[in-house]
Subunit: 407 residues, 2 copies
C-alpha cells in the first residue's frame, strides 16, 4: 500500500485561507452560492416521502431486499439464487440498520452507529498527532480496512439535518465539529460480481462490502473509544463521504460522481469515524483522474438511464437531490434511481465500465495506470476499450465459475 504525505495543517480545523488552499489541492470549486445538503433530499429518502420519486416500483424495489418474492423471474441474474446471494450479502448491515429501529434509527444509513461500548476514564497520551495518525491507520488496517485516510471535520459536507423514516421529515444532526477529525475508510468491492452488472447478482458486491464496512467502522470506533477518546462511526449517514475521502487522500473525483481510488478504481464503498482524538491530516492525491475523465465518456455512454454528465464540469443541478454551488460533474440521481427501481436492484454499470475498474495486483494494470496519468492517456483509453475489460459477464457464467474452480 502506498504512503500518504502528512499535511502541515495537522489536527487543526481549517480556517478560511487554509480551507481555500486545501480546496484547490483537492480540485474543489465551491461557489458563493454553495448550500449545505439535508439528507432528506437524498434520493433514497425522497423515495419514501416525495411522490416525485416514490412509486409502486420503488416500493417493490425495497421489498425485494426484505421479503422473498413469491415468483422469481427467470431472467439471467435475477433468479432466486441471485436474490438469495444478494440479500444474504446485505444481512449483517441490515441487522445493524434495524437494531434500534424502535428508537427511529436506521444506523449506517440514516443515523450513526451507537453500538459502541463505553471507554475508560483515562485517555492515552498522544505523543504527536502524526504518531497517533500512523498508529490509528495501522490499527484500522489490522481491523480490516482496505484504505484509510484522515482529514478534518468540515461542516460543508455534514448534512444540515438527519432524516427520520418514522416521521418522514428532518431531525437534528448528531455529528458536530466537536469531533474535529475524521478517519475515512474505503472497502473494496468484489470485481467478479460487478462484472455481471446490471443484475441482482452484482448487488451482492454492494451488500457484502457494506457488511464489511459496518464491522470495520464499529471496530475502529471501539478502538478509539478504548483509548479514551470520543468516536462516532458513520456509513452513509451524517455527511457526504466523497469530499471527505478526497481530502483524506483516498482518491480523485470521477465523471460518474464516484470516488476513484488508485488501488481499486471506483470499486469501493466508504465509511468514516468522527473523533476528537488529535490526528494529523492527509492531503489529496492526484494521479490524472480529472484529465482522464475529461476525455473519457465510458460511463456516460454506458448508462442506460442517461444520468451521467457528458460535458464539462458545471454548477448545473438536475433536481433537489444534487448539491448546489459546486462546479463538478453531476449525476441525475432521479434518473439513476428510477432505473434501479425498474430493474429491482441496484445498478453498477458505471463502475463496471470505468477504465480504472481493475485489480492492480498485476503489472499490466499498474503500467496502464501509469500511462493513464501521462499525456498518453488517450492511448490508455484506447487500450482499455479494445481489451474488452469492461464487458458484461453473464451472471450464469459467474455461477458456472463455481464448476471449474471447486471441482
Amino acid at each position: 500500500m502506498r504512503s500518504r504525505h502528512m499535511g502541515p495543517d495537522s489536527g487543526r480545523r481549517p480556517e478560511a485561507a487554509s480551507q481555500a488552499a486545501s480546496d484547490r489541492d483537492a480540485c474543489f470549486e465551491v461557489g458563493d452560492d454553495f448550500r449545505r445538503f439535508s439528507q432528506k433530499d437524498d434520493v433514497f429518502c425522497r423515495s419514501f416521502w416525495d411522490p416525485e420519486v416514490r412509486s409502486d416500483r420503488s416500493d417493490m424495489f425495497y421489498e425485494t431486499y426484505r421479503t422473498p418474492r413469491m415468483t422469481w423471474r427467470s431472467a439471467d441474474g435475477f433468479t432466486q439464487r441471485d436474490y438469495a446471494l444478494r440479500n444474504a450479502s446485505w444481512h449483517v448491515t441490515d441487522i445493524f440498520a434495524e437494531l434500534r429501529a424502535d428508537a427511529d434509527r436506521r444506523e449506517g444509513f440514516l443515523d450513526p452507529y451507537t453500538a459502541v461500548r463505553e471507554g475508560p476514564g483515562s485517555a492515552v497520551e498522544v505523543a504527536s498527532p502524526q504518531e497517533m495518525a500512523r498508529e490509528v491507520k495501522h490499527a484500522a488496517r489490522t481491523l480490516g480496512a482496505d484504505l484509510v485516510g484522515i482529514t478534518g471535520y468540515d461542516e460543508r459536507w455534514t448534512y444540515t439535518h438527519a432524516y427520520s423514516r418514522e416521521t418522514e421529515t428532518e431531525k437534528p444532526q448528531e455529528v458536530t465539529g466537536e469531533l474535529e477529525n475524521v478517519v475515512v475508510i474505503a472497502q473494496s468491492m468484489d470485481r467478479e460480481l460487478l462484472r455481471t452488472a446490471p443484475s441482482a447478482l452484482s448487488g451482492a458486491a454492494t451488500g457484502a462490502t457494506y457488511s464489511r464496512d459496518t464491522i470495520v467502522l464499529l471496530a475502529i470506533a471501539q478502538y478509539i473509544t478504548n483509548l479514551g477518546y470520543r468516536a462516532v462511526a458513520s456509513m452513509n449517514d451524517a455527511a457526504l463521504a466523497i469530499p471527505l475521502a478526497i481530502k483524506a487522500g483516498l482518491g480523485e473525483y470521477g465523471r460518474h460522481g464516484l470516488l476513484i481510488t488508485r488501488e481499486f478504481g471506483p470499486r469501493v464503498r466508504l465509511g468514516k469515524v468522527f473523533t476528537d482524538m488529535p490526528l494529523a491530516h492527509d492531503r489529496p492525491v492526484r494521479f490524472g483522474v480529472r484529465e482522464m475523465c475529461e476525455v473519457c465518456r465510458a460511463c456516460t455512454e454506458a448508462c442506460p438511464a442517461r444520468a451521467i454528465a457528458g460535458g464539462e464540469p458545471s454548477t448545473h443541478v438536475h433536481n433537489r437531490s444534487n448539491i448546489q454551488g459546486i462546479r463538478k460533474w453531476t449525476t441525475d440521481a432521479e434518473k439513476c434511481f428510477r432505473f434501479w427501481a425498474n430493474q429491482n436492484t441496484d445498478c453498477a454499470i458505471c463502475v463496471r465500465v470505468c477504465p480504472y475498474n481493475r485489480t492492480y495486483d498485476n503489472w499490466p494494470s499498474r503500467v496502464w495506470r501509469w500511462v493513464s496519468g501521462t499525456r498518453l492517456r488517450r492511448l490508455a483509453l484506447w487500450l482499455d476499450r479494445i481489451s474488452g475489460r469492461g464487458r458484461r459477464l453473464a451472471p450464469r457464467r459467474w455461477w458456472n465459475a463455481a464448476r471449474s474452480r471447486y471441482l
Copy 2:
C-alpha cells in the same frame, strides 16, 4: 485455492461401515469407550461453574475483555493500546454474543446464531448435491469465507448438551441430525499479530477473526435460508469443530490439538453451518502433518504451561475437559487456560511456533510445504528452526511497523 475431491457418500448419512472407512480416511481412532462431550465440561464453561478452574484470576481475565482496567500494565504487549485494539477486534462478535443474553443465550459461543431472517416458502431445485455443493462453496467464498468444505452431520461431534451461563448447568442441544449436512469454514488469522504472542496485542488476531467468522456464518446461513432450506450458523457452540473440519477436507490434526490447514497452517478459526440442503461431501486431505508432528516438538517445547503432549497419540485424558475414547494427542486444557488467566489474555505460542504457520503466497514456503510432506521432513524442520520464522516479535515493534509503513 485448491480443489477438493468429492466423496462417494454424497449427501447420505454415514452408516457404520462407511463411517469406519471415513474415520480411517481422516486418521480418526475412535474406541469403544468413546463418550460424547457435554459443553459444560469445556474449560471455558468450567471457569464459571467449576471451582477447580474458576479463580480470581479467571474472573479478572474475562473482566479485561469487558471493562477498561483502571490501571494499565506497562509490560510491552499489555498496555492500554494493546488492550484497546484487542477488545475492539472482539467488538462485533461480542455484540452478537450479547444480542439475546436476555433469553439466556450467548450466541456464537454457547448457542447457535438466531439472527437469520425467514426464507421463502419455495426451495430452489437442486440439480445434484455435487452441483449444489459447488455453488454453495462459490457463494461462501464470495461472502468472505477463506476456506470451505462440506461434510455430513455426525452425532459423535455434537455436544450432548448446551451450557447455560444463567443456571450454570446443562440445557438441551438445539442442533440435531435433521440438518444432515455441515458447511465448515476456516477464517485465517493475522500472522503479524500472532508473531507477538503471548501478548494482549496478539489476542486482536483472535477477536478480529471471530468477528469475520460471525458475519460470514450469518451470511452463509441467510443465503441457504433464502434458497428455501434450513440453515443454522454455529461458531464455537453446538459441536466440536475440528473433527468436522477434518472430515470436510480443510486440514489435518496437529500435535497441539489444532487443525492444520494447507493454506494457513494452524492460523485459522472455524465455523459451521448445519443445513438440510442436499450437498455432496468432501473427503479428508493428507499432506504429511501427522508424520511431521510425530518428529516435531516445537509446540510442546514452547508451551510455557507444559500443556501439550510430547509423546505418542494416546487415549490418556488429563481431566474432564478432554474427550474420552479417542487415540490422539491431547492437550491439558486446565493448564492451558490457567496460563491464559494468569497473563490476562489468550495465548497462541503454539500457533506462532508451529512450522506450518506461514503464508503460502511465496514459493519458498510452498517448496517448504512440499518438502515437509516427504521423507525429508526432518530437513524441513531443521530449515524452519534455523530460519528464525517462529521467533517472537516484540509488540512495540509491531506498533512501530506503523512508522515505516504509513509515513
